[in-house]
């Protein structure tokens, strides 16, 4: 229903535009959302950024959004509709919009397509992403210092490059702070199933974890940590409300600088799809240094841990490459040699290992 109303509004706006074409029109920018902004996670972060865009540009830009756009063929229809209705920039905020957007981009060469977290580009389709793994490195350091049992629980989503970047960055940070700590990983094979995430967290607590991290989206793990009297990290947004005593900090996604920069480029004519050094890299991929990834206040930790977390965050902002060799996998093999470091391209192809400190075997 909401979608329908939105579409009606878009149609009305399109009619309005053709009627008054003589007046200087605002730049029309469309957004596709996977869920409603009420998820307090992924889509919520995009909606906050859209509002910031609107506030930043005022009447120079007119933004619209379509919620609950399923990934796949339905997305193509919505993208096409947005393009047809005169949107000159279209942001697709989920990985699964990649192929539909690429297809539509060829039919609308004058429209600028911006795909979030994907890797396919065309003459008028660019990609943007956040270095989520940077926050996990800081989490690893805090976890390594906070644990008393030396057992840390980690709930991972699907075995994809982004998940390995995060898990290994976490392990690298943890081992820097505490060479005896071990990570127990559970692959939940879901982004959001609160009951399963809570079950996984309970299992980790039962097996002795006293700090837990998650790459899944709901606050279920933190609530379990709160109840068990242990600590954990929130995901994508500040989850303090769910776990006032358990949350050490959350890494928060901030898309506003990216959106504003790209729209400014469209307005002054300098927009391009870029040409990153490597196809997989994503031509805009920024992190903590540029404010794309923000860490919430460090809480529920002693002063020395807080100081270490702040130092680690500053180091990352200063350009430290977390994946700098020598880095060993959990069987002792050197996976990144001394003097070597993963560049943006290899961060997508060479991260499929379990770094030292992660227990068990990689999922098949």
């Amino acid at each position: 229903m909401k979608k329908f109303i939105k579409m009606m509004a878009l149609t009305a706006a399109a009619i309005g535009m053709s009627a008054g074409a003589a007046v200087a029109e605002p730049l029309k920018v469309g957004f596709l959302y996977l869920t409603t902004p009420g998820d307090h996670g992924w889509t919520y972060a995009h909606e906050l950024a859209r509002q910031e865009v609107q506030a930043h540009f005022g009447d120079k830009v007119e933004t619209t959004f379509v919620e609950n756009v399923p990934e796949g063929p339905d997305a193509e229809r919505v993208v096409r509709e947005l393009a047809r209705q005169g949107n000159q920039v279209i942001f697709g905020t989920s990985f699964g919009y990649m192929d539909p957007m690429l297809k539509v981009s060829k039919d609308f060469p004058d429209v600028k397509f911006e795909h979030i977290t994907g890797y396919k580009r065309s003459g008028n389709m660019a990609t943007g992403n956040i270095r989520f793994y940077e926050g996990r490195y800081v989490q690893g350091i805090v976890a390594g210092m906070m644990t008393k049992t030396n057992k840390i629980g980690y709930i991972a989503p699907f075995p994809i490059p982004e998940a390995y970047q995060g898990l290994n960055a976490f392990a690298i940070g943890m081992r820097e702070a505490n060479p005896n700590a071990e990570i127990m990983v559970i692959w939940a094979n879901t982004w959001a199933d609160p009951v399963k995430e809570a079950d996984a967290a309970k299992v980790l607590v039962a097996q002795g974890a006293d700090v837990m991290a998650q790459h899944t989206d709901t606050p279920a793990m933190l609530q379990t940590a709160e109840k068990a009297g242990i600590h954990g990290f929130g995901q994508a947004s500040d989850m303090k409300e769910f776990a006032p005593n358990a949350q050490l900090f959350s890494s928060v996604n901030n898309w506003a600088p990216y959106y504003i920069e790209k729209i400014e480029q469209v307005l002054d004519g300098s927009w391009s799809t870029g040409d990153g050094p490597n196809h997989w890299a994503g031509n805009t991929w920024k992190g903590m240094a540029d404010g794309y990834l923000e860490l919430t206040t460090f809480e529920n930790m002693p002063a020395n841990v807080k100081a270490a977390a702040e130092a680690a965050a500053a180091k990352v902002k200063g350009g430290h490459n977390i994946f700098t060799g020598p880095i060993k996998d959990n069987k002792g093999n050197v996976v990144i040699k001394a003097g070597d470091a993963l560049d943006d391209g290899r961060l997508w192809s060479d991260v499929f290992f379990y770094a030292e400190g992660i227990q068990g075997e990689m999922p098949g």
Binding site: M184, V195, D199, A200, A206, A209, E241, F242, G360, E361
Partner: protein
């Protein structure tokens, strides 16, 4: 450690027991309601909302039960009143419940509540092992066992239970004998809705105290499978739910222990186990159909 794992298994099984035992009664009366997932979601969102506003978990559970019944009554009116196709109506009910619960629940996202308190009995709860496993749950968890016992007794030992089974096996004969086929079925559908609602309520009240859209994540469908798994016998629902919960937790614990089995395979295990048991049961026709209601899924027309 094992005590805690077993405790988690027991808790994970509770919503499945409720949803499945409700559906079992519905199916025993000859009605197939595929809307369990939708009813559970309606129960979950109502329970969370009311518990948050009132601060009372008891009212939350009550609201969950009522919401489940209300959703079920819609199904009952369509299927029994208008003799619509049960499979299609049930599927529609799931889609409807998923959508409506998301809409109603939108303002509840991002809110948290305190979970149900675990009962602490003097002496008993402090007993080693048994104290933790048997004597320290919440009331709703104990209720699930009570309901299974009550349903087993009702179906096997009471006259009303016999009538319900007769209607499920041959609604024309039951009608000829003067039994109110539609009335009994409607009551059964309402009971099924109430149980699904309580099962759904357990998720945001106890398992993970917040509301998330579609948080049942397929547990309603598992409950439906459990009814067949149990070959329509109440006790076996309890066993089936525990097996399912056990495998779910085992695969998580196995991963954390570093088992060298692909996690995708482990995630699949609970469903695989259900399918294997279904195949084994179906292999023995007599056993499979002994309690299967003969009129399951068939519309009843009194005028014939």
């Amino acid at each position: 450690m094992y005590e805690e794992l077993i405790l988690t298994v027991l808790m994970t099984s509770v919503p499945l027991v409720y949803a499945a035992i409700g559906e079992l009664v519905v199916e025993r009366s000859g009605v197939l309601n595929l809307g369990v997932e939708g009813m559970m979601l309606m129960g979950a969102v109502a329970a969370f909302g009311i518990a948050m506003v009132s601060g009372s978990l008891f009212l939350g559970v009550l609201a969950g039960a009522l919401a489940g019944m209300l959703t079920a009554s819609l199904f009952g009116i369509l299927v029994l009143g208008f003799a619509t196709n049960q499979v299609a109506t049930g599927l529609a009910l799931t889609i409807f419940g998923t959508g409506l619960s998301g809409l109603v629940g939108a303002p509840l996202i991002g809110k948290a509540i305190e979970g149900l308190p675990q009962i602490s009995l003097p002496v008993l709860s402090d007993l080693p092992v048994v104290g933790k496993l048997v004597f320290s749950h919440d009331l709703v968890a104990y209720g699930s066992v009570v309901v299974v016992v009550a349903v087993a007794y009702f179906l096997k030992r009471t006259r009303a239970g016999l009538v319900l089974r007769a209607i499920g096996d041959n609604h024309d004969s039951a009608h000829a004998l003067g039994y109110p086929v539609l009335g009994v079925r409607f009551a059964a559908v309402l009971f099924g809705g109430m149980m699904a609602g309580i099962g759904g309520a357990y998720l945001p009240l106890m398992l993970t105290p917040h509301w998330a859209e579609g948080m049942t994540a397929g547990r309603g469908w598992i409950a439906l499978a459990l009814v067949v798994f149990a070959s329509w016998m109440p006790w076996r629902v309890l066993v089936g739910a525990l097996i399912f919960g056990g495998i779910t937790i085992m695969q998580l614990a196995g991963q954390a222990e570093g088992w060298t089995i692909p996690s995708q395979f482990l995630s699949m295990l609970p469903y695989l186990a259900t399918i294997i048991v279904l195949v084994l049961i179906s292999g023995n026709r007599e056993f499979a159909l002994a309690n299967s209601p003969a009129c399951l899924g068939r519309a009843f027309h009194a005028g014939k």
